[in-house]
Symmetry: C2
């Protein structure tokens, strides 16, 4: 039990994982997520189903596993922002990495097919949203800590709004092909530009 990390075994494990992801996603894009069984994947990889499940706890992880890294990156970027900066600006800068990632066409075209599989497969899309939700919660916790407002809805809502802007921008990029950077700026400007009328004078309970 010496090296612990990056032993030869660890590296080969990573290699097998990467290979499985590549292989599985190819099959998913080709024949669809639901109609590709884990047995199919295992057969294609020349291993037993049980072994596939030793590399990935669930079938979904073959698709969504990569998003686990994203969380750390977002938190790191947000932590790097100066304390005095408005939260909305910090959040926009936090997304710079993601934006650059999706702005890269070489990647975009490769991942686009997989994105389509995700959004068109209810179970997969649900799991995706769950991961985003967890990420969002972590970012919100950090934002609350920054604002020194422990249990305040404000930061949580603002972080949620920022993620909603990112989602809207990604969707618009997928459908219109416009630049995600511009779309995100547009979306975040639209939200930051909101003005609300005064609240209705008295209670308005209905139904």
């Amino acid at each position: 039990m010496e090296d612990r990390q990056n032993s030869l075994r660890q590296r080969s494990r990573r290699a097998v994982q990467a290979e499985l992801v590549e292989l599985a996603q190819g099959l998913f894009v080709e024949r669809g997520y639901e109609s590709t069984t884990v047995d199919d994947i295992a057969a294609a990889a020349g291993m037993s189903k049980r072994t596939v499940f030793r590399y990935f706890a669930t079938k979904e992880e073959l698709v969504l596993g990569k998003y686990d890294l994203l969380s750390d990156e977002l938190l790191r970027r947000l932590r790097e922002r100066p304390l005095g900066e408005p939260l909305w600006t910090s959040l926009r800068r936090m997304f710079d990495g993601v934006v650059a990632y999706f702005a890269d066409n070489a990647h975009a075209s490769r991942a686009a097919a997989m994105e389509r599989v995700v959004t068109s497969t209810p179970a997969l899309h649900a799991a995706y949203l769950h991961r985003v939700s967890r990420m969002q919660a972590e970012v919100a916790a950090l934002a609350c800590a920054r604002a020194k407002s422990a249990d305040d809805v404000g930061p949580v809502a603002v972080v949620g709004a920022a993620f909603a802007c990112l989602a809207a921008a990604r969707a618009a990029q997928a459908s219109t092909g416009r630049s995600i950077e511009l779309l995100l700026d547009e979306a975040m400007d639209a939200v930051a530009g909101l003005r609300r009328e005064r609240r209705a004078p008295q209670g308005h309970h209905e139904r």
Copy 2:
């Protein structure tokens, strides 16, 4: 094939569905969602597993089925808002029904346990988010139609931000016990009160 709707059969079907929901949710709260099998529910209801699946397509629907009605209500409320009203205000008013629902303590205490089950069960929470996401998309489509801006990110982002506020308010209500009405106003004011610094002068691609 006369009445079609509300025939005796339809009503009895609804009754059985309601009974199953009640029964199942009781078991879920008591023993947890994952450790309650559909067989358990069927046995408790005195019917076969197969029959349960004739009333509910999936186990999740026993918990999340009610949210399907919510979508129509939101759309109806939004449609009732005057065209000249700012979108953010219309969205706040759109939530009035939901707010009233969750402000009712009699309901809140009954549903609170179930809410906890949902948020603490990954699979359920994911399915919940998926439904909310679909609802949000419908509302966004309506908002875009109102704004006469077909494929604009703005309305989509704003609607997403509004839903994020609702989610934040609900979460805060669950943890702090404060009034959801005030919390939602606070959250939506926080988002509407955002001001953003001018964008960074030139491109900022990294990584």
